[in-house]
C-alpha cells in the first residue's frame, strides 16, 4: 500500500512539473537578431519588445561595431553558423548570401502571408531585397532605409559676421552647398576659422581604410560627377565608365576636399569619427549616414536649432551612396518559423510607423508616402530626396573583393598621394577585371 501511495505521489509530481514546464518552454523560445552596433539598433531593441509581447517569443541581439560587422557576420554565414536566426545584412551582401544559400528565399512566404513588395519604396526593394537585381527574387525585407547625407552647423551659417565675410569673399549668400564646387568653397571658407575662440575645420569626410569607409565616402563625389560602374548596355564592361573623364573629376574633387578642408589626423576615419568631430564643434559640415541624424538632432550641444541637413550635392549628375539594409532569415537557423513570424510582424504598417517614430528609417510606403512625413523630422524631406537618387556599390557575390580593391586604390590616391586619379581608376578596373574573370563573368 505504502509503495502504491509513493508511486501515485511520484506520478502526480511528474504530471505537475510537466504541466508547469509547458508554458515555460513556450516562453523560453527566443530568436537572435544580428546587426551592427549603432543608434538604430537600440531603437530596434525597443521596438522588438512589442513582438515578444505579441508572440511570447523572446529576442536576443548580437550587435557588432561597424568596422568589424562585415568580417564577423560574413564569417558566421560562410561557416554556416547558427548564431543568428535573423540578420540585418548590408545591402552589398545580398548577391553572395543568395547565391551561397545563406539567406532563405522569401517569395513563397511573402505570397502566403500577403506581404507585397509594392508596399516598400522601389529603391530599397532593389537595393536590399532582390538578387539578381531588378528581378522578382526576394531574399530580405527592406528594414532600414539609409543613404549618405550631410549635416551642417546652422547656427554658424546664420551668424551675420560669418555671412558677411562669406559674401565678401564669394559674392553670394552662405547657404548649404548644392554642388561639389560650392561644397569646397564653403568648406575652405570655414577651414581654420576661429569661431567662439576655437579653431574649426571645413568638412568631415570618410577616409577609413580597413573596412568600407573611404569607398562609402568617395562614391558620393564620383556619382555626383557622373561615374558609372559599368556600361548600362554591356554588363561588366567598365573601361570608359569607371575611369571616364567625369569619374576622374569626381575623384579629384574628393581629394581636393580632403586636402584643403578636413581636420588634421583624419586619415583613417569613418562614421564614429565624423560624429565625434561634429559633436565636439570641430567641423562646419559632416558627411554621414542618415541613420545618425535623429541622434545628432537630439544632441544637447549641436542639435536642435544648431544643426541643419542637406542632400549630397550634385555636380553634373545626381547620386548618393546607398546605405541601409534588409532583414533576412538565416538558412542555418533552427528557428526558421519563428524568424519568419518576426518578418511578418515587422512588415505591418503600424509596426513600421512605430519604427520610424523610434528612430529607425522605415522603407514602407505607409510611412514614406504619408503627407505628414516630410515635416515629421527636420531631415525627413532630405531623406526622401536622397532615397530617390541612391546608387549602390556592386552587390555581386564577390562584393568583398571588389570593395577591398576599391578601398586600396582610393586610399592610395586620396590619402597616400600615390599616382593620379586616372591611374587609380585604371588600376581599379584592372583589379575588378581579375575578380570578374575569376567569377567567370568576363
Amino acid at each position: 500500500m505504502a509503495k502504491a501511495v509513493t508511486w501515485m505521489c511520484g506520478a502526480a509530481a511528474l504530471a505537475l512539473s510537466a504541466g508547469a514546464a509547458q508554458p515555460a518552454l513556450a516562453q523560453s523560445k527566443s530568436l537572435t537578431l544580428c546587426w551592427a552596433a549603432w543608434d538604430p539598433a537600440n531603437a530596434l531593441v525597443q521596438l522588438s519588445k512589442d513582438f515578444t509581447t505579441a508572440t511570447g517569443i523572446g529576442m536576443k541581439f548580437e550587435f557588432v561595431p561597424w568596422t568589424s560587422y562585415a568580417d564577423r557576420f560574413l564569417n558566421e554565414l560562410n561557416s554556416k553558423g547558427k548564431l543568428c536566426d535573423l540578420i540585418i545584412g548590408d545591402s552589398q551582401w545580398i548577391g553572395g548570401a543568395a547565391e551561397n544559400g545563406h539567406y532563405v528565399k522569401l517569395n513563397e512566404f511573402f505570397e502566403r502571408e500577403g506581404i507585397s513588395m509594392d508596399d516598400f519604396m522601389p529603391a530599397t526593394v532593389v537595393g536590399y531585397s532582390q538578387w539578381p537585381k531588378n528581378t522578382p527574387n526576394y531574399w530580405a525585407l527592406p528594414a532600414m532605409g539609409d543613404a549618405i547625407g550631410w549635416t551642417y552647423r546652422k547656427d554658424w551659417f546664420s551668424r551675420p559676421e560669418i555671412r558677411a565675410a562669406f559674401r565678401d569673399k564669394h559674392g553670394r549668400d552662405l547657404e548649404p552647398p548644392k554642388t561639389w564646387t560650392e561644397l569646397k568653397e564653403v568648406a575652405s571658407f570655414f577651414q581654420g576659422r576661429e569661431i567662439d575662440g576655437k579653431r574649426v575645420y571645413g568638412a568631415y569626410i570618410y577616409t577609413e581604410r580597413g573596412s568600407e569607409g573611404i569607398t562609402m565616402g568617395v562614391t558620393n563625389a564620383l556619382y555626383a560627377h557622373g561615374f558609372k560602374y559599368q556600361d548600362p548596355d554591356k554588363p561588366y564592361a567598365m573601361d570608359g565608365f569607371v575611369n571616364s573623364p567625369d569619374a576622374v573629376k569626381g575623384l579629384e574633387a574628393y581629394k581636393d576636399l580632403y586636402k584643403c578642408c578636413t581636420a588634421p589626423g583624419m586619415t583613417n576615419a569613418y562614421m564614429q569619427e565624423g560624429l565625434d568631430a561634429f559633436k565636439s564643434g570641430q567641423v562646419a559640415m559632416q558627411m554621414n549616414f542618415f541613420a545618425f541624424f535623429p541622434g545628432l538632432h537630439k544632441d544637447p550641444n549641436v542639435g536642435g536649432d544648431r544643426i541643419g541637413f542637406f542632400v549630397n550635392p550634385m555636380e553634373t549628375a545626381r547620386g548618393t551612396q546607398l546605405g541601409g539594409q534588409g532583414i533576412s532569415v538565416v538558412a542555418y537557423s533552427d528557428n526558421r518559423d519563428e524568424a519568419l513570424q518576426y518578418i511578418k510582424w515587422f512588415a505591418q504598417p503600424d509596426v513600421q510607423k512605430k519604427w520610424w517614430a523610434l528612430g529607425g528609417y522605415s522603407c514602407h510606403t505607409a510611412v514614406l508616402n504619408d503627407p505628414d512625413f516630410p515635416a515629421s523630422a527636420p531631415f525627413a524631406a532630405d531623406f526622401l530626396q536622397s532615397m530617390s537618387m541612391v546608387v549602390d556599390f556592386w552587390a555581386e557575390p564577390s562584393y568583398a573583393s571588389l570593395l577591398l580593391d576599391m578601398q586600396k586604390r582610393m586610399h592610395d590616391y586620396v590619402v597616400a598621394d600615390k599616382g593620379t586619379a586616372k591611374e587609380a581608376l585604371d588600376l581599379l578596373i584592372k583589379d575588378w577585371t581579375v575578380v570578374f574573370e575569376d567569377d567567370g563573368k568576363l
Binding site: 581604410r209 580597413g210 583624419m266 583613417n268 568583398a400 577591398l404 592610395d412
Partner: protein, 320 residues
C-alpha cells in the same frame, strides 16, 4: 632506508599493481618500442595540427578553391597562383614594407636592447625597479599597444605629438605619425621597438650574466682597457645570444599582424601593408583561399629558408 631499497620497494609495488596480462605484454617490448609508445600520441597530434594543414595548404595553393564557396567546382590551376603572386607589383610592395619594418625594428631593438642590458647588468640603487619598469611594454597585448599608440599618435590630442611639439617647438597638428606616407612606416617601427626592446634586453642580459668574471679579471691583469674588453670578451660571448634574439624577433616581425593592423590598418594607402595584412585580406576578406594558400607557402618558404641559413650561421658562431 637507502635510496636503492626505496626504489626497489616502489618498483615492486608498481609491478604488483600491474595486471599480470599487461605486465606480460609490456615485458615483451623492446626499449625502442616503449619509446615509440610514449611519443606516438604527440607525433599524431603534431601531424594532425601542423603537418596535415601544411600539406593541405600546399594542395589548395594549386587550385581556385574559395572557402566561402565550398560547393563551387574546384579547378586545378597548376602554378598560376604562384606566377600571379610573384608578378603582382602590390605583393612586392608589401614585401618591401615588410622588409623595411623587419630590418629597422630589429636593428633598433638590438642596439637599444643590448645597451639597456649593459646598463642593467651593473648593480645600482633601484636596479630591480628599473628592470621591471623596462619590461612592462613586452607584457602588454599587441592589440592593446596598437590601440593606445593610435591615441598617442593623434595629431590634435595625442600625447606623442604634444611631447614632440614641446621638445621641438613645432605645431602638434603639423605632422601625422600614422597618417603621413613618410612617417607611418617609422611609426610602426617605433611602436614595435618600444614594445620588444625589453625582450632583446632580457636575452642579452642572460648572455652577459653567463660570462665568467675570471675572464674579465684575466683581461684586467693583461691591462686590457674597457673598450678592448668589450670588443674582445663581451661582444663575442654575447653574440650567440644576440643572434638568437635577432632570429626570434625576425620570425616574429615577419609575420607581424595585430599591432600594425590596429595601428594603421596597412595605411595610409598601402604604405604599411605588411605581407601578413595582405595575406589576411586575401584569405579572410576576399576569400581567395587557393591564391592566399600560395602566398602563405611563398612566405613560409622564405622564412624557413632564411631561418635555416641563419641557424647555420648561429651554429658557426657558437662553435668558434
Amino acid at each position: 632506508m637507502t635510496e636503492t631499497s626505496t626504489l626497489h620497494t616502489l618498483a615492486a609495488r608498481a609491478g604488483a599493481a600491474t595486471p599480470p596480462a599487461l605486465a606480460a605484454r609490456v615485458r615483451g617490448l623492446s626499449d625502442r618500442a616503449i619509446a615509440w609508445l610514449f611519443i606516438t600520441p604527440t607525433v599524431l597530434l603534431l601531424l594532425a595540427i601542423n603537418v596535415f594543414p601544411l600539406i593541405w595548404t600546399v594542395r589548395l595553393s594549386f587550385t581556385n578553391y574559395r572557402a566561402n564557396r565550398p560547393d563551387a567546382p574546384l579547378r586545378w590551376l597548376g602554378l598560376d597562383n604562384y606566377t600571379r603572386i610573384l608578378g603582382d607589383p602590390d605583393v612586392w610592395y608589401a614585401m618591401q614594407a615588410t622588409a623595411h619594418f623587419v630590418v629597422w625594428s630589429i636593428t633598433l631593438q638590438v642596439l637599444l636592447g643590448f645597451g639597456l642590458a649593459l646598463l642593467i647588468n651593473r648593480r645600482f640603487r633601484g636596479h630591480g625597479f628599473w628592470t621591471t619598469l623596462i619590461l612592462l611594454p613586452m607584457m602588454l597585448s599587441p592589440a592593446v599597444v596598437g590601440n593606445f599608440w593610435t591615441f598617442l599618435f593623434q595629431p590634435q590630442t595625442g600625447l606623442f605629438n604634444h611631447v614632440v611639439a614641446f621638445v621641438t617647438g613645432i605645431d602638434p597638428g603639423s605632422f601625422q605619425m600614422i597618417g603621413d606616407v613618410r612617417l607611418a612606416p617609422w611609426a610602426i617601427v617605433l611602436v614595435d621597438t618600444w614594445m620588444w626592446t625589453p625582450y632583446v634586453m632580457l636575452i642579452c642580459l642572460a648572455g652577459l650574466r653567463s660570462i665568467p668574471d675570471d675572464i674579465y679579471e684575466a683581461a684586467e691583469v693583461d691591462r686590457a682597457g674597457p673598450l678592448r674588453r668589450f670588443w674582445s670578451i663581451t661582444l663575442p660571448m654575447v653574440l650567440p645570444f644576440l643572434m638568437l634574439a635577432v632570429l626570434f624577433r625576425g620570425i616574429e616581425n615577419f609575420r607581424m599582424f595585430d599591432m600594425v593592423n590596429l595601428l594603421t590598418s596597412g595605411g595610409p594607402g598601402s604604405t604599411t601593408e605588411v605581407a601578413s595584412i595582405t595575406l589576411k585580406r586575401e584569405a579572410f576578406e576576399k576569400w581567395r583561399t587557393g591564391y592566399s594558400s600560395a602566398f602563405a607557402v611563398i612566405l613560409f618558404v622564405t622564412v624557413f629558408g632564411l631561418a635555416n641559413i641563419y641557424v647555420k650561421a648561429l651554429n658557426a658562431v657558437r662553435q668558434r
